[in-house]
């Protein structure tokens, strides 16, 4: 079954942000572990939230583009991986092993919907 691991971190200016931060090397090592285990499907780190733009289309078909969102997002989605593992316990193990689960961050584990099953 495929699960998406969403790596969520508190905003960098947050007071509950601890000093210790995981490094690029930590993420590269995690990436390699997943690939070596043959469970990695896809994944990316996302660019800084300051580069984010939101789009919506209103009832008249008018496109509304805004910078952000920033202020209202207490937590920031920093990246994701999709893994293919037998069950939730294995997915939770991989989530717990990721650098994103430490230093005040958390990992949301979401099954990919399987239509027809």
């Amino acid at each position: 079954m495929k699960y998406m691991l969403l790596f969520v971190s508190p905003p960098t200016d947050s007071p509950d942000q601890p000093g210790a931060q995981c490094t690029v090397e930590d993420w590269m090592a995690y990436d390699k572990q997943m690939k070596d285990a043959g469970i990695w499907v896809s994944g990316n780190a996302l660019a800084d939230l300051t580069t984010c733009t939101s789009v919506k289309v209103d009832a008249d078909g008018q496109r509304i583009v805004t910078d952000g969102p920033f202020a209202e997002s207490r937590e920031v989605l920093g990246g994701y991986d999709v893994i293919d593992v037998p069950n939730l316990d294995v997915a939770l193990d991989w989530a717990a092993r990721s650098p994103g689960a430490r230093d005040g961050g958390s990992v949301q584990v979401r099954p990919i919907a399987e239509f027809g099953l």
């Binding site: 079954m1 037998p86 069950n87 939730l88 316990d89 294995v90 939770l92 099954p111 027809g116 099953l117």
Partner: protein, 436 residues
């Protein structure tokens, strides 16, 4: 009603001819068989819903056939064979279900390649895995308790709803939602490995403990004790202890439940109002149950660092073995609470420790500790805190302050018997104020 002693051949016993009576006695066996049957079916098919439906159909078939054709020589095997046949029929009829079962089985083999259970041998006991599925940390605590009662306790959804004093529709919705999460997030049906057990076992024990406390002191409603739930929790704790004999905390949990349940006949008066420990008739405590509980408490505290259930069992054992409140080993109880506070810190444990300190060192010492705890927001609506303060104030001769604290406790108490008990205490404190 719930959690009677396991019986193996009830339907064959006695010249029972009334079909309703036969049905009732057969149904009683199924409470014991249901969890085991369900667990074996989940192991076989991987799908909790399919397992429940086919188990229910097999039991229904037994209720129809056995009173006429007699109970088969191996009732468990009969039920399992029938249930498996019904499950296979369902899979044949439903292509989507067939596809899902096939995927589940492929994934199960990938995660944990193990030979399939052999029906022709004695029935395997897969209930341990079912315990861990029902109490999985990915489910809410309420869902874990409801599922454990539904799947392992074999209670109907209506019975689970009654046990927790919620409308049946609410409980049905909760169980459906929890089972959907198990299916769609694919919470596995497996016993965690030795390395995971320290993290996963407490959740299972907590679910059983919650069933017990709900039966022991209903959090709301007219009745204080619901003994059937407490007995069901003890039955489940016994199964867990049998399946995990090397885990000291399972011994601790079973010991704790027995040591508390041994006082069931004296905990409330004839009018249903609670009776405190110092006024209970200790001759009516269940001595054999205390004996069994004490042995389990010793097991739980031997051979390694103590866990929270073992420590609570040891505290309950000291109460149960004491001749009266004055003859209770309060220094030892305080020492055990000190360890418990380190192992499992909680404001409720701190409150109980303060009460024990008051017994050891006098009411003033206990009151000082309680006043520190009063600042804890987690205890803000917990009526035992003002009730304990009131008791100590009363013993210190500060009757007006005691009356104030009793009034707070009355306002916070959730059940009518608790309120009535506190109102009587309040009346005593008010009477003492007038004497002052």
């Amino acid at each position: 009603m719930v959690g009677g002693e396991p019986q193996n051949q009830p339907a064959a016993r006695g010249p029972e001819t009334d079909p309703t009576a036969v049905r009732a006695s057969v149904a009683a066996v199924f409470r014991e068989e249901h969890g085991r049957l369900l667990a074996t079916l989940v192991r076989r098919f991987g799908d909790l819903h399919l397992a429940e439906e086919s188990a229910a159909e097999a039991i229904e078939a037994a209720l129809t056939h056995w009173p006429i054709s007699g109970v088969p020589t191996r009732p468990g095997a009969w039920l399992l064979t029938t249930a498996r046949r019904r499950a296979v029929d369902r899979i044949r009829r439903d292509r989507t279900l067939a596809l899902r079962i096939a995927v589940l089985q492929a994934e199960a083999d990938r995660a944990d390649p193990a030979p399939a259970a052999d029906v022709d041998r004695d029935l395997p006991d897969d209930r341990l895995a079912l315990f861990f599925t029902c109490a999985h940390p990915a489910l809410t605590e309420e869902d874990r308790v409801a599922l454990t009662l539904r799947c392992l306790g074999g209670l109907t959804t209506a019975e689970v709803a009654r046990a927790f004093l919620v409308p049946e529709a609410t409980m049905a919705q909760r169980i459906v939602r929890a089972k959907r999460k198990i299916r769609d997030a694919r919470i596995p049906f497996r016993v965690p490995g030795a390395d995971e057990l320290p993290q996963r076992l407490p959740g299972v024990l907590q679910a059983v403990y919650s069933i017990f406390t709900e039966g022991y002191a209903a959090s709301s409603g007219p009745r204080l004790q619901r003994l059937d739930l407490a007995e069901e929790a003890i039955r489940l704790a016994r199964i867990l202890h049998r399946l995990l004999p090397a885990q000291r905390e399972t011994a601790g949990l079973l010991g704790l439940l027995l040591l508390v349940h041994a006082r069931r006949h004296t905990r409330t008066g004839p009018d249903g109002v609670p009776v405190l420990l110092d006024e209970q008739d200790r001759r009516r405590w269940d001595r054999p149950m205390i004996g069994e509980g004490c042995a389990l408490a010793r097991t739980a505290l031997t051979g390694g660092p103590p866990g929270p259930y073992g420590l609570q069992a040891a505290i309950a054992a000291l109460h149960d073995e004491a001749p009266d409140v004055a003859g209770t080993d309060w220094p030892q109880i305080v020492a055990l609470y000190d360890v418990l506070l380190r192992v499992a810190p909680s404001p409720v444990v701190a409150l109980n420790r303060a009460v024990a300190v008051a017994m050891r060192d006098g009411p003033a010492a206990g009151l000082a500790l309680l006043d520190e705890l009063a600042a804890d927001p987690r205890l803000r609506s917990y009526h035992p805190l003002p009730a304990a303060r009131a008791d100590l104030l009363h013993r210190l001769g500060r009757h007006a302050d005691a009356a104030d604290a009793y009034r707070q406790a009355v306002d916070l108490a959730g059940t009518e018997p608790d309120r009535e008990h506190l109102r009587r205490r309040l009346a005593e404190a008010e009477a003492a104020t007038r004497v002052d």
